[in-house]
Every structure is written in C-alpha cells, then in structure tokens.
C-alpha cells in the first residue's frame, strides 16, 4: 500500500441529528475529508464543537444530515460491512458484565465468527496479536470492571485491534488517563499507524500531544467550521489561536501550548537562560508578573525604581536568583524564596 491509499472519503458532509422531526445541525458543510493508510489524524476542538458527532457520523453510528461518506470496498453502509472496515474505541463506559479482559477482546472478532461466535485459529491469532501490541498480557485473565482507567483504555484498544480493520477511530482515548499513560497511549497509536498501515483518527483535548504525534490535524471551531492541515502549519498560520480564542487564554506559538496566566501584570526584567529561565518565567507569570526581555531599557517603565530585575546565576554547584530593585539587592536560593521576597 502506498502512503496515499485513501480508506475513507467524505463529500459535502454535514453532521447533526434529528430531534422531533427537526434537524439539529452540529457542523456546517465540512470540507472534503480523507483518511489515508498509515496516517494518524487528530481531531481537535473545544467542548461542544461536535468532535464526537463527527466521529460517530464517520463511523456510521449515526446518519449524516447531508453528504456522503465513501469507504472503498463497501457499497451499502450495513453494520456488518462497516464492522470489517472501521473499529472504534468510544467514551462509553464498559460495565463489567462478568467479562474477562480476554473474552472482551475476543468480542472484537465478532464480524468474522459464525453464528455461535466460536473462534477459529485465525481469530485466536488476531486476539493474541492485539494483546501483544497493547502489552496487556498481565491483565488478560482479570475481570474487565476491575481495571484502572489506563488498563481499561488499553483493553478497549486491543479489542478494536482484534477487529482487524484498516480504519481505527478513537473518541477521546486519553480522557481520565494520567500524563504518562496519555503519552504512552499516543506513542503506541503513532507506532501502530506506521507499523500496521492503519488509518487512525482520534479526537482529543491533548493539544501538545496531538501536535507531536499527528500527521494531520482536523480542527473544529465551535461554529462547526473545520480546518485541516499539518499541525505545524495550523500553528504558524494562526488557526489554532483563532479556534481557541478566549479572553483570558492565549496560545503561545513558541512553546506550542496555552498560557493560563496571560495578562498585564507588573513588568519584571529577567536575565538568564535554559531550564532555570523557563521555569522562573512560569513562576513569575503565575504570580501575576509580566516578564519582559532584559534588552528592554529600564527607562521605558515608570516609576523606574519600582521595577524588579532578576539575574539568574546557574552553575554546577548551585543555582541562585539575584533580586534587584532600586539599588537594593537580595540573593534567593529557590523560586519559592524569590516569590516570597517579591510580595
């Protein structure tokens, strides 16, 4: 398969749902969307922008209001046919029902088994592969309801992998996970896309992780408008900032994340470099200061004597912060002490 094999394509798609005979439109007319083999696409967007609706529509769980979704190889969108093309990891909480992890993953073979659901050798092989790929050998005999959130998510991913479909869609797979688990899951999905040539589409709120792993980003705006492109392009052309524009939240293009404590605090001059500079800057922002580059002349501010100037001295033996204001100076040996001194 070449890199460009298109596994799913939409034309003039509009998502939404019917309620009481009326169409509730969730997204406007979307641009043509494509899922390609071996590519990982992250679907981003604020809460309520219609990520889940789009994902469910593409997966065939709910009908589109308008437009078509083409999956090469199938004609009618019957569940039985779609099940061999698209597998899902949803946000639906899976209750235990006495299922073991192993038997839950075996359910992934549903589209291939006979009327009684008995597994043959091929099915068993696929289940083993899925368990191996997600690294959950250790928990395979446990009850599904006894797992932690991270384990549970891996189990559901293994079930989707056992379904052995060219397309894999995940709805907020990183929700409820702690940071290391989130990173591991995203890395696993990134690797899977490369190794198995699956097209993977996942919706997430993890902006920074998405920027790192996605081959492409679909960015939904609250109005239902969708931007697509390489993550870096979307950052540089300002689409990111626009989509998440809120009064008190600013997207920092240089760091690739959102700044929580934006705003105009008292200016502080900060001299230094490296990690210490970065974390000192963060601490000052949190405390309500605005860090200005040391190149800025002190004369631009008034009254000049109220301006703090912090010089970081960072060497192998010790790190210290020299706090100067209007001639007086004080040396601090931790950020906590520095912030205390500035109150």
């Amino acid at each position: 398969m070449s890199n460009d094999t298109v596994l799913l394509q939409t034309h003039g798609l509009q998502t939404g749902y019917r309620s009481g005979g009326k169409n509730i439109v969730v997204s406007g007319a979307l641009p043509e969307l494509e899922l390609q083999a071996g590519r990982l696409i992250c679907l981003l967007g604020p809460n309520g922008s219609g990520k889940s609706t789009l994902l469910r529509t593409l997966a065939g769980l709910q009908p589109a209001l308008r437009g078509t979704i083409d999956v090469p190889g199938i004609e009618a969108h019957k569940p039985a046919e779609l099940a061999r093309k698209i597998s899902l990891v949803l946000t639906d909480r899976v209750r235990g029902n006495n299922l073991t992890v192993q038997s839950l993953i075996e359910l992934g073979r549903y589209p291939y088994t006979g009327w009684l659901g008995v597994l043959d050798e091929v099915d068993k092989g696929a289940v083993e592969w899925a368990i191996g790929a997600t690294g959950i050998h250790a928990i395979r005999d446990r009850k599904a309801h006894s797992l932690s959130d991270g384990e549970s998510q891996k189990m559901m991913l293994a079930r989707a992998l056992a379904q052995d479909t060219p397309i894999l869609m995940l709805d907020e797979p990183t929700a409820h996970l702690d940071l290391p688990s989130r990173i591991r899951l995203m890395r696993l999905l990134h690797q899977l896309a490369g190794q198995t040539r699956k097209a993977i589409l996942l919706s997430t709120h993890e902006l920074d992780l998405a920027l790192q792993v996605a081959d492409k980003i679909w960015l939904l705006e609250p109005g239902g408008k969708l931007h697509q492109g390489a993550p870096e392009d979307l950052v540089l052309n300002g689409v990111f900032e626009a989509a998440f524009a809120e009064q008190d939240i600013v997207f920092d293009k240089e760091a690739g994340n959102f700044i929580m404590h934006a705003g105009q605090g008292r200016p502080v001059l900060l001299t230094g470099e490296g990690a210490v500079f970065f974390w000192t800057q963060r601490a000052l922002r949190r405390a309500g200061f605005t860090v200005v580059p040391p190149t800025t002349s002190a004369k631009e501010f008034s009254p000049a004597d109220m301006l703090y100037h912090i010089r970081i001295s960072d060497n192998i033996t010790r790190t210290s912060w020299l706090l100067e204001r209007g001639g007086a100076s004080r040396e601090c040996i931790s950020i906590a002490e520095l912030l205390q001194a500035m109150v």
């Binding site: 469910r56 997966a59 065939g60 769980l61 019957k78 569940p79 039985a80 046919e81 779609l82 099940a83 061999r84 698209i86 597998s87 899902l88 949803l90 639906d92 899976v94 209750r95 235990g96 029902n97 006495n98 299922l99 038997s103 839950l104 359910l107 992934g108 549903y110 589209p111 088994t113 009327w115 009684l116 659901g117 008995v118 009850k143 309801h145 006894s146 379904q163």
Partner: protein, 347 residues
C-alpha cells in the same frame, strides 16, 4: 484454555442435579412414592400399581414438566432482558407482557358472571382453563405486538425499558379497575390465579406449551452471539456489525414467547427471572451466553422443581402457591450470593 472442560463439567453436574430434583419432585406429595420405584412405575404397565401410576402419570409428571418448562423459560427470558437492557434488575415481566397476560385472565374471570355468552361457551364443552389460557395468550400477544412495534421505532434500549414498564403499569391499572368493579367472589378467583400454579397444565396444554417454549429457547440460543455483543453497549455492538434494532426485535420476540406463554399457562411466577441469571453468572463465572443460556435452563428448572417440592409441604395435605415459595426460598439465596460478591459491577 482450561476453562472449557470445567464449564462442561459444571453443566453435566447441574444436569445430574436436575434429574435428582425431578425424581424428588415426583416422589413427594400427599402420597409419598419412593424415588426408587418411580422409574419402575414410569416404564411398566399401569396394572402393577394403578393408584401410583395414575398419580405419577396424570398429576406429578405433567406438573414436574411444567416446572422444568417454566424454570427454563423464565430464567432465559430474564437473562435476555438483563443483557438487552444492561440492567441487573430486569426480568421477563419488565416488558409488560406478564401484566398483559394478567389482563386477559382478569377479563375472562371478572366478566365471567355478567356475560351470558361466556356461560354458553362453557356449556359447549370448552373448559374454563382453555378459555383462560386463550385469553391470556391473546392479551399477552397483543401487548407483545405493541412493545415490538414501539421497539422498532426506538433508538435506545433505555427508552425501551421505560416504555415497557409504563405499558406494564397501564395494563396493571386496567386490571385493577376491572377488579374494583367486580364481585368479591370473582376477584378471589383472579387473586388465586396470581398465586401461580404449575399443576393446571395437563395433556394437550402441556404439548402446546412445550412447543412454544422450545421455539423461544431455540431463538434465544441462536441469538446468543448478539447478546454477547450487546454486553458492551449498543454503540460497540453496532460497530462490531450488529443491526441493533433487528437484534432487539428478535430478543424481545423470544422473551415474549417464553414469559408470555408461561404466565398464560401457569400464572405469574416471580423471582426466577431475576435470580437465576445471577446464580448462573456466579457459578460459571462467565459472560458468554453460549454457556449462560444452557446454564440458566438447568438452574432455573432445578430451582423451580425444588420450590415445587417444598410447596407440597411434606407430610401435609395442603399445597402452597408456587409464586410464594419461589420468593420465600429464592430471595435469601440471592441476597447471600450478592453479599458474597459485594458489588454489582460484576453482575
């Protein structure tokens, strides 16, 4: 995979238990017949001991068969409802079909006195029990058709659950209205029916009932793969290729046949439908319906046979209504089982 042989072993064990319960049920009653003699009676000409032969063949054997049928039907129906609605408290009566059968019975019994035509029918040789069964079947069937037609339009199983309960309470209210305006004598007759009875099913009725139950059980077993998929919820089931609406119609059809016919022939029998699926899950420690359906049949039948045995009140002439015994005996069992498991997460 050491699971499979263990499960088979357990199923065989339960089958033996069922046979023992069956023999025990045949041997107890107002006249005690030793269990050892029963085989001989069953396979020998009536001449040997005409009284015992009559008691076994005409009274106890049909009753035990009815107990087996009711046990299988109600527990498999309960299992299907619990999986379909993902609710550990669901049982076959949740769709309102049991209440529907009750309405039919009330219609016959409570209007009996006032309608001359009914009397005429009775005079023509149609016995009262046939009339009651026909009415119960018809009205259970009508409720079932209503539930089915609604279920085809609904997307959500939870909505289906609520609507089933609502239909049940409407039907129950209609029955109560009828009761309110009826003579005490007739109300008493109806109340006796609500206690449930396994003894009323004989001869031709038994063969009709077995046919319907067999059909329902076959449909249930064939739908075991669908039920497995539904364990993960409707969305996942659909993503794995299940046409959820069709599956719902098939499952409701099967449960309706099972629960509706048993209620029509034996009256409402509570508790078995809720409890037996839980017992089966605990014993077999699995969620696979391929195993749970036969397991429910065996456990349900054994349980109902034991309840029937107890209801004979050994050593006395009187018989307790089966519905009372199932609840009195069964509920503590379920409470103990649930206490040992401590959480419902794993139901």
């Amino acid at each position: 995979m050491t699971e499979r042989p263990i499960q088979k072993f357990r199923l065989i064990g339960l089958l033996l238990l069922l046979l023992m319960a069956f023999l025990l049920d045949l041997s107890t009653g107002s006249v005690r017949i030793p269990a050892g003699k029963i085989m001989k009676i069953l396979f020998s000409p009536p001449a040997a001991n005409p009284t015992w032969h009559f008691i076994i063949a005409q009274i106890r054997l049909p009753k035990a068969c009815a107990a087996v049928l009711a046990g299988c039907a109600l527990s498999v129906g309960g299992l299907q409802m619990q999986t379909l609605f993902r609710n550990p408290l669901a049982d076959p009566s949740i769709l309102g079909i049991t209440a529907g059968a009750g309405l039919g019975v009330a219609a016959v019994m409570l209007s009996g006195g006032s309608m001359a035509t009914l009397y005429a029918i009775k005079e023509l040789g149609v016995s009262g029990s046939w009339l009651i069964i026909t009415a119960a079947c018809l009205s259970a069937g009508a409720v079932m058709l209503l539930v089915l037609s609604l279920s085809r339009q609904l997307k959500d199983n939870v909505l289906m659950l609520i609507i089933g309960i609502m239909i049940g309470s409407i039907t129950f209210a209609l029955t109560s209205v009828w009761q309110y305006f009826s003579d005490p004598e007739q109300v008493k007759e109806y109340l006796l029916w609500t206690f449930g009875s396994l003894g009323g099913v004989t001869g031709a009725q038994l063969s009709i009932l077995s046919g319907v139950i067999a059909a329902g059980l076959i449909v249930a077993f064939l739908s075991s793969k669908m039920l497995d998929a539904l364990l993960l919820g409707e969305h996942y089931a659909r993503s794995m290729g299940l046409t959820t609406r069709r599956a719902r119609v098939i499952i409701i059809c099967s449960t309706s046949l099972l629960a509706g016919s048993i209620t029509a022939f034996c009256g409402p029998i509570g508790f078995v439908g809720i409890a037996v699926p839980h017992i089966a899950r605990t014993i077999f420690n699995t969620a696979s319906h391929r195993i749970l359906i036969p397991a429910c049949c065996l456990i349900g039948a054994t349980l109902l046979l034991l309840c029937d045995t107890v209801s004979q009140l050994p050593g006395s002439q009187s018989v307790l209504p089966i519905n009372i015994v199932t609840s009195l005996l069964g509920s503590p069992v379920v409470i103990i089982l649930l206490l040992r498991r401590k959480n419902l997460n794993s139901w």
